[in-house]
Symmetry: C2
Subunit: 231 residues, 2 copies
Amino acid sequence: METLLPKFDSVFSIDCVIFGFDDGELKILLIERNKEPFKDWWALPGYIVEQNESIDHAAERILYELTGLRDIYMDQFYTFGDVNRHPQGRVITVAYYAMIRLNGSKELKPVSNYASKAVWISVNDHPKLAFDHEKIFSRGFEKIRNKISYQPIAFELLPEKFTLTQLQQLYEVILSKKLDKRNFRKKMLNYGILKELDEKQKGVSYRAAKLYKFDKKKYSKLFQKELTFGK
Amino acid sequence: METLLPKFDSVFSIDCVIFGFDDGELKILLIERNKEPFKDWWALPGYIVEQNESIDHAAERILYELTGLRDIYMDQFYTFGDVNRHPQGRVITVAYYAMIRLNGSKELKPVSNYASKAVWISVNDHPKLAFDHEKIFSRGFEKIRNKISYQPIAFELLPEKFTLTQLQQLYEVILSKKLDKRNFRKKMLNYGILKELDEKQKGVSYRAAKLYKFDKKKYSKLFQKELTFGK
DNA sequence: TTACTTAGTGTAGAATATACACCTTATATT
DNA sequence: AATATAAGGTGTATATTCTACACTAAGTAA
């Protein structure tokens, strides 16, 4: 174990709150640190922004290194800049969230040099986190909870083909409350951004549900109109 | 990697989009730079974050240095981290917005070392800005436009006592559209966050309007309920 | 065939949003 | 005093959206 705390100037880092949905549960990707400080603690995946990369690029890189996934929608949500948030010096971190499809089990890549492992852990049952990562996580969760209320971002978390019940379950875990089935379906179908497929769920031991696809074109038409106060 | 975090020649800065409302116009506070790069250009007020201050503190400090105002509500809205956004090196900037009351003319303090003057300029008619400040400004404007649709933040911009017409004008300039007088009043009064005063406007050459005050207590009760999707 | 489990559907009432025009009141002018 | 001017202030009918609520249909497993 190292004891000497090095001195350094200000550093930028990125931390990622990466959400996945599987088996009715909302999960986040956590790593186990293999370095001081907070060695052996769980933490959000994150790393230093390199000198010649944009912060968006850094976020994508970190996601890629951990999951092998590219071209995932990521959004910056807050920057944490308290003086003492990192015990070794001044580190300001820009937090991003991402939402990715976990089709069954999505294997995680062996992780580079700063983590011994990376796992998907249920948001409702996650361990204590290093640094101020609990704060970052909560804020990220809050962010998607708010966002889902006015933009159906939830599709990012579902497989390409999904049932309305799966969609509703996802809303329910993000919002932490039960929704009415009929009202939910009415509202979703009314948006006109779902395409009904000629296909049904397979491998279930009860009546199979219709599958739907998300219609990206209609989505952008609908939701790029800005929010309005009304006349 | 060892415990030593890499040392980069990176700098954090804060940039502020400071809104004011006066005489029916929405304004922002701009400075004229007296240093290279972008000497003599207009820019958003901003400065380097010091080693031992939080980013929130830095934002407040910058606002104070320019306006002499403290305890103003400021909110971080986005962090800009493109590699080449600053011609002299890597500068990542955290952008904040603030809204302040301009009662008639609010005099600005003589500005410290990085600006020759600071002035209020109408948002609809502002000069070209240095760095990527146009992008920062637009994003900040967008932010308050969205926010005002679900939280009546506009009160920050008005004098303590105001008329409903003033409030409506402010909404109109932020949203860039005309609103219906009766519907606007109905909605605002329904929120229950306005206190009608026993006082009228003075110094106008027509029928004076009733003055209202913003009721902070009722506001927090009402708007701390989070946004919901409904049942 | 029966039991089980989830899929799928409609309607009525409440609340909210929208469209729309005229009289009132205070001041300034003659 | 009378008149002109300019903004203040108000109500109602219609459309739209939100909410609450319960049963039948379809497929699978025993």
